[in-house]
Symmetry: C2
Subunit: 386 residues, 2 copies
């Protein structure tokens, strides 16, 4: 069997049609969108088309979409940009304990500059309680940011309910939807959010393209300044091919979303159920129902997550441990810590993030190779007494 | 004659070999460089290769190269990152009046937050005087930033001399080399700079890839936070294909630089001399010798620069007015204002930014079509009395 990619939370394969849509903007229309001659026209129009495609995907106005270079930039722009714009209102921000590092660390960076940060904890499935958010909000709170779905344990947060609470207090509300936009239905009005981050690479689009939705009227300062690109909120020559790819990926995601969700959810449930039935003392983290379609996050008692990864890799299976993207510096995932998971189990965790391009045969392969790996590793473990 | 692209300061054509180098990282090696499985390996190694290629081009250590998404981001990281890291030392920064908007506006943004900014003026050719920089430096100055070469009038600044002055005062020195790196020889030790910004799109590389050189020991805070990519100084999943393209473009620039400079300089001089001899009351801005190889910036008395552009466009010639990238909001270029150019002449300016892919025939075409355009426009001008 060829190599099996089950690390879609770290980045999806660039879809062929998306790649093809980008090629003309690399090879032919290489002009700067700000140029007033004909070489600027096509890139400028392409960016506008992409803005419309992204807006459609999340039920937003095209004018409220701001392109950035990655999800982390979108999150930093939302968090720092709002905090910087609101100095006269207050210097307090509320975030959840299961945010992506880019939200958490953006907030922490502001803390070093004198802002106050309240981190709201979750229950053992990773859910943020709207009432807890309400209790954390103060008269000087200028922003609340809660992730739409955890990039680790896949828990989909009750954003609509949290938004209601936050809006009743008249405070801007941001959600990091990098794991959900383009994957499950996301509508900014339905969710009731003021800002929303998304990234192309989560749904078959290219690296280097992401966006922040900023509802009209919400005050956000730029975090890098310069020219007047993106209406002055994000300076710098636009990465036209990547933005075109983001737009195309958004368009495809809308068209194929129902099918993708169906396929991915079936694969996920097959893998979750198979793992539980075949491996004793394996625990699924997060919620069974309100979780990302492709997310299988499990703790396997008495084994280091990384050992499993390396063994799986030798069998051609690519998965992730802890946070699926980059935080090699952290030993124990802050998300798993937030759910109160025993640290030993937290470090014994593995994440399969499936996509709609995975197959039933690939799930079968994992279910065939993983149990003997676990058995072998446990036989060498000093703490295993199964 | 086909369309003639003379707007290379706004962005160069992506070279075919560079494009080809990027394709595998879009189509095949789509993994996240932070992943520990095999799909992360090749992207991670590719980024390291690119880091070496970029470092070689500017005589730096690979470990001192930090990838960003565009020149504006590099400039913001240098300016704001240094200022944020130096709060305890002081809150004063010195920049020249001919900086790119991303440096000027980054400094201005910090000014709104309580920092002091001194802007050093230039002479009528756009040169920054090292003595003037020395006079502007104070005991609480934490950064001096002077552009290597103006993106508008092409004047190459005496960076070595300015660096000497700044270093004698023991202050970090940044240069925006977006117009020079990959175009003319740039060596960070020879120049004596602590930080240097460069962008792939200035020398045949892709949009979406740039870098900041930060000399070991210089303190720079990140402007967006999150994962530990780029050793914690620039969070976010790396744009692998674009970074690979930046590396390849750097490698090609080093190999072909002498030839490119020779070709481009000859074209530039042919166009400058031709324009001066064929069009009365046309003035070349900037310095004749110490200017970018491809830069032809001229003011044509009694005509709006934009009128010339539109007329040229109809003859298939793509050039720019004022600043070659984006600042539609500014009516008169801040660079031309800094040189003391009469506002009427400043607004009558046009920029041809040539590259090594331009040809002598293209120059001939411009020299053929422009004089009658100027004559016609002047015949309609109420202020022309030639």
């Amino acid at each position: 069997m060829a190599e099996i990619y089950m690390d879609n939370a770290a980045g999806t394969r660039l879809l062929d049609e998306v790649y093809e849509s980008m090629v003309p903007y690399m090879k032919t229309y290489y002009g700067n969108p700000s140029s007033i001659h004909s070489m600027g026209t096509e890139p400028r129009e392409a960016i506008n088309r992409a803005r419309g495609q992204v807006a459609s995907m999340i039920g937003a106005e095209a004018a409220d979409i701001y392109f950035t270079s990655c999800g982390s930039e979108s999150n930093n722009l939302a968090v720092k940009g709002t905090m910087l714009a609101s100095i006269k209102t207050g210097r307090h921000v509320v975030v959840s304990a299961v945010e992506h590092q880019s939200v958490l660390n953006a907030a922490r960076a502001m803390k070093r500059n004198g802002w106050d940060v309240t981190i709201v904890n979750t229950d053992n499935k990773g859910f943020v309680d709207p009432d807890a958010v309400n209790a954390a909000v103060r008269s000087d709170t200028v922003l609340v940011s809660v992730i739409h779905a955890s990039n680790e344990i896949g828990t989909v947060e009750p954003i609509r309910e949290i938004a209601k609470v936050v809006k009743s207090r008249n405070i801007p509300f941001h959600t990091d939807a990098v794991m959900t936009a383009g994957v499950i239905p996301v509508n900014v009005d339905d969710l009731g959010v003021d800002m929303l981050s998304l990234a192309a690479n989560s749904f078959g689009g290219p690296k280097g393209a992401a966006a922040l939705f900023i509802r009209k009227g919400v005050r956000v300062f730029s975090i890098f300044d310069g020219g007047i690109q993106e209406r002055g909120r994000r300076a710098g020559t636009e990465n036209v091919p990547a933005i075109v790819g983001l737009g195309k990926a958004a368009e495809m995601a809308v068209k194929d979303m129902d099918n993708r969700i169906k396929v991915t959810t079936a694969l996920r449930d097959k893998l979750m159920n198979g793992l539980e039935s075949k491996i004793p003392k394996l625990y699924i983290n997060g919620d069974r129902e309100k979780r990302l379609p492709g997310n299988v996050h499990a703790s396997i008692e008495a084994i280091e997550g990384e050992s499993i990864l390396y063994s799986l890799a030798r069998k051609g299976v690519m998965a992730a441990s802890g946070s699926s993207c980059a935080d090699k510096a952290l030993k124990t995932s802050h998300v798993l810590t937030a759910t109160g998971l025993d640290p030993a189990l937290a470090n014994a965790s593995i994440l399969f993030s499936l996509g709609f391009e995975n197959t039933g045969e690939e799930i079968d392969h994992v279910l065939e190779v993983l149990p003997p790996i676990v058995e072998r590793l446990r036989s060498m473990s000093p703490i295993w007494n199964g």
